[in-house]
C-alpha cells in the first residue's frame, strides 16, 4: 500500500504531477472552445507546426516557447494566406502546411539525434522535464487561463453568434486570432508533457467528453478542466510505475473516459438516445 505513495515522496514527481495537472486543466478548458469552434484539425496542425520552432529556438539559445509560438503563428498565417489566395479547400491547405512544418521539424531534429531534450518534443516525457521548462510551461498555462478569464465570454459569443458580438461592439476576427494564439501557446505547454503528436488529444478530448455531459457552457468548461487536470495528474503518477509513455497514458486515459461517457452519458449518451428513441416509438400518438 505504501508503495503507491512513493511518487509523492520525490520532488521531481511532485513537480511532474503538478505541471501535468496544470497544463491538463488549461488544455481541457481551451478544448471546449476548440470543440465548439470545430477546430480540432486546426489544433492538430498547429501543434505539429510548432516543432521546427522549438528546434530553432534551442539552436539559437532562446526559450523554446518563443520559437514554438512564432513557428505556430507562421503556420497559421500561411494557412490563412493560402486559403484566401487559392481555390484549394481548407482541409487540404491545413494538411499541406502542417505536414510541411512538421517534416521540417523532424528533419532538423534528426540532425541532433543525441539531444534528449529535443527528442522529448515528439513523444513528451513529463518526468524528464528540466526545471526551466517547467517554469515556462507554468507561465504559459497561467497566462492562457488569465486571458480566458478576461476574454472567455467574448470568445464564446464569437463561436455561438459572431454577428451578436459585432452588435455588442466587438470584433469576431480578433477573437479568431486570439483563439489561434491560445491554441499555439497551449500546444507549446503541452508539448513536453505529452509530445507534439499527442498534444491535440489534450486540446480536444476533454471538451468533446464534457460536451456530452453538459448543456451549459460553464458546466462544460468545469468538467473539461477537471478531466484535463485529473488525467494529467494520474498520467504522470502512473508513469512512475509504468516504464512507458506518459503522454500515451494521459491521452489514452482521456479517450477511455470519453468512451465511457459516450455510452453512459445521462442525456447525450448512446444508451440514453436509444432509450429516448424507444420511448418515442412506444408513446401513443396524440
Amino acid at each position: 500500500m505504501t508503495e503507491l505513495l512513493i511518487p509523492f515522496e520525490y520532488d521531481y514527481m511532485l513537480r511532474a504531477m503538478g505541471i501535468s495537472a496544470l497544463v491538463g486543466a488549461v488544455a481541457g478548458l481551451l478544448s471546449c472552445y476548440v470543440v465548439l469552434k470545430g477546430w480540432s484539425l486546426m489544433g492538430d496542425a498547429l501543434s505539429h507546426a510548432i516543432v521546427p520552432g522549438v528546434v530553432l529556438a534551442w539552436l539559437g539559445g532562446i526559450p523554446f516557447a518563443i520559437g514554438a509560438f512564432a513557428s505556430g503563428m507562421l503556420a497559421a498565417l500561411a494557412m490563412a494566406g493560402l486559403r484566401g489566395r487559392t481555390p484549394i479547400r481548407e482541409d487540404a491547405v491545413i494538411g499541406v502546411v502542417f505536414t510541411g512544418f512538421f517534416g521540417l521539424g523532424l528533419f532538423l531534429l534528426s540532425l541532433f539525434p543525441s539531444n534528449v531534450r529535443l527528442q522529448t518534443i515528439i513523444f513528451g516525457n513529463v518526468l524528464g522535464i528540466a526545471d526551466a521548462d517547467i517554469i515556462q510551461m507554468a507561465i504559459i498555462a497561467v497566462v492562457v487561463a488569465l486571458v480566458l478569464g478576461i476574454w472567455g465570454r467574448d470568445l464564446m459569443l464569437s463561436l455561438f453568434d459572431p454577428v451578436q458580438l459585432v452588435a455588442a461592439g466587438g470584433n469576431p476576427s480578433h477573437m479568431r486570432v486570439l483563439l489561434l494564439m491560445l491554441l499555439a501557446a497551449t500546444a507549446v505547454a503541452g508539448l513536453q508533457a505529452v509530445g507534439a503528436i499527442l498534444v491535440i488529444g489534450m486540446l480536444v478530448t476533454p471538451g468533446a467528453t464534457a460536451y456530452l455531459l453538459a448543456d451549459r457552457f460553464g458546466r462544460m468548461a468545469a468538467i473539461a478542466t477537471f478531466i484535463g487536470a485529473a488525467t494529467g495528474l494520474i498520467g504522470a503518477y502512473a508513469s512512475y510505475f509504468l516504464d512507458g509513455s506518459t503522454g500515451g497514458s494521459i491521452v489514452a486515459l482521456q479517450a477511455a473516459i470519453f468512451v465511457v461517457v459516450l455510452v453512459f452519458a445521462p442525456k447525450h449518451g448512446i444508451r440514453a438516445s436509444r432509450r429516448a428513441a424507444a420511448h418515442a416509438v412506444a408513446e401513443p400518438v396524440p
Partner: protein
C-alpha cells in the same frame, strides 16, 4: 403616430443609407448605389429575391462588410460608433443558429447585454433586470432555464427577440423572422414589432414572405442589386414594383380560369393556391388586396 409615417428626412436621426455599393473581393458587385432613409418609429420590410443583395445590405448596415462607396448612418453616427453605443440589435435567421450549442435561454438573452457590460462581461443587477423584463415581454420567463435546442420553432424565435429587447437600441434588424414559425407566434412577433415602433425604434425586417408585408410594414424597401423603390407601403408595395423586383422569380397564379376548370367554386371567386405559407393576393389590375388568412 402618423407623423412617423410622413417620413421626415433630417428632422430626427434615423437610419440613412446613402449611395452604398458593395463589391466582394472576387469582383462581384452585390449592391450598386443603394439609398433609402427611415425615420424613427418605422417598421420597414426589406423585400427581394435571394441573391438580390438583401443580405449584403443587412451586412453593410451591421458593419459586417465595408461599402466600396457610400455610407450608412445610424442615429446620425457611423456604423462602428453606433455599434459601440449599442444602437443596433439583430435577430438571426433560425438556420444560422447552432441549436445544440451548450447555452440556455437566459444565457442567450444575457448576450444582448454584453455591450452594456465592462470587458469581463460580468452582469450587474440592471442587466439581470433587463433580461427578466425581456423574457417576460416575449412570454418566455417560464422556459428561461431550458437549453435552446429544447424549444419549439416559435419559442426559439422569441428567445432571440428577447435578446434584442434586452439590448435595447434604436435599430432592430430581423432576418427572415417568420420562417418556420406558426401563425400564433407570427402574430405575437408582429404585435411586438408594432409596440417597438410606438417606442420610436426602427425595425428593418428582411423577408421573402410577401403576404405578410402589408399587414405589419408601414414602409417597404424593394431590393434587386440596388434599391428599386423605397417608401410608404401603399406607394411602393404594388404589383408593377413587385414584378420589377422579382422578375420571373415571382410565381403568379391567375387562378379564376383554372378554378373554373375544376369547377367546385362559383365563378368570380378569387382563388389562390400556393405552397407558400401566406400568399399575397393581388387584384387583376395589380392592386395588392392583402394576404390569404384562411385556408379553404
Amino acid at each position: 403616430m402618423d407623423g412617423a409615417l410622413a417620413h421626415p428626412i433630417g428632422t430626427r436621426a434615423g437610419l440613412s443609407v446613402e449611395g452604398v455599393s458593395v463589391a466582394y473581393p472576387n469582383g462581384h458587385l452585390a449592391l450598386r448605389d443603394a439609398s433609402f432613409t427611415l425615420a424613427p418609429g418605422t417598421v420597414c420590410g426589406l423585400v427581394g429575391v435571394n441573391g438580390s443583395g438583401k443580405s449584403t445590405l443587412f451586412k453593410a448596415i451591421m458593419g459586417l462588410v465595408r461599402p466600396s462607396a457610400g455610407q450608412v448612418r445610424i442615429g446620425g453616427e457611423k456604423v462602428q460608433a453606433a455599434l459601440k453605443r449599442n444602437l443596433v440589435a439583430y435577430v438571426p435567421q433560425a438556420e444560422e443558429v447552432d441549436w445544440s450549442f451548450p447555452v440556455g435561454v437566459r444565457d442567450v438573452v444575457m448576450m444582448g447585454r454584453y455591450g452594456h457590460m465592462n470587458i469581463l462581461r460580468l452582469p450587474r443587477t440592471a442587466d439581470h433586470q433587463a433580461v427578466d423584463a425581456a423574457l417576460a415581454r416575449v412570454g418566455m420567463a417560464d422556459l428561461a432555464e431550458r437549453q435552446i435546442g429544447e424549444l419549439s420553432g416559435g419559442q426559439r424565435k422569441r428567445v432571440f427577440l428577447a435578446r434584442a429587447l434586452a439590448q435595447g437600441g434604436e435599430l432592430l434588424l430581423l432576418d427572415e423572422p417568420f420562417t418556420g414559425v406558426d401563425v400564433t407566434t407570427e402574430d405575437a412577433i408582429v404585435d411586438l414589432l408594432k409596440q417597438l415602433r410606438e417606442e420610436g425604434r426602427i425595425i428593418l425586417v428582411s423577408t421573402h414572405n410577401l403576404g405578410s408585408v402589408p399587414t405589419f410594414c408601414d414602409h417597404v424597401v424593394l431590393v434587386n442589386r440596388t434599391v428599386l423603390a423605397a417608401g410608404p407601403t401603399p406607394e411602393v408595395f404594388t404589383g408593377p414594383n413587385l414584378l420589377r423586383a422579382f422578375g420571373g422569380a415571382l410565381r403568379q397564379h391567375s387562378l379564376p380560369e383554372q378554378a373554373k376548370a375544376h369547377a367546385p367554386l362559383e365563378a368570380g371567386h378569387v382563388v389562390v393556391l400556393s405552397d407558400d405559407e401566406r400568399p399575397l393576393v393581388m387584384a387583376p389590375d395589380g392592386r395588392v388586396l392583402g394576404r390569404l388568412t384562411q385556408d379553404l
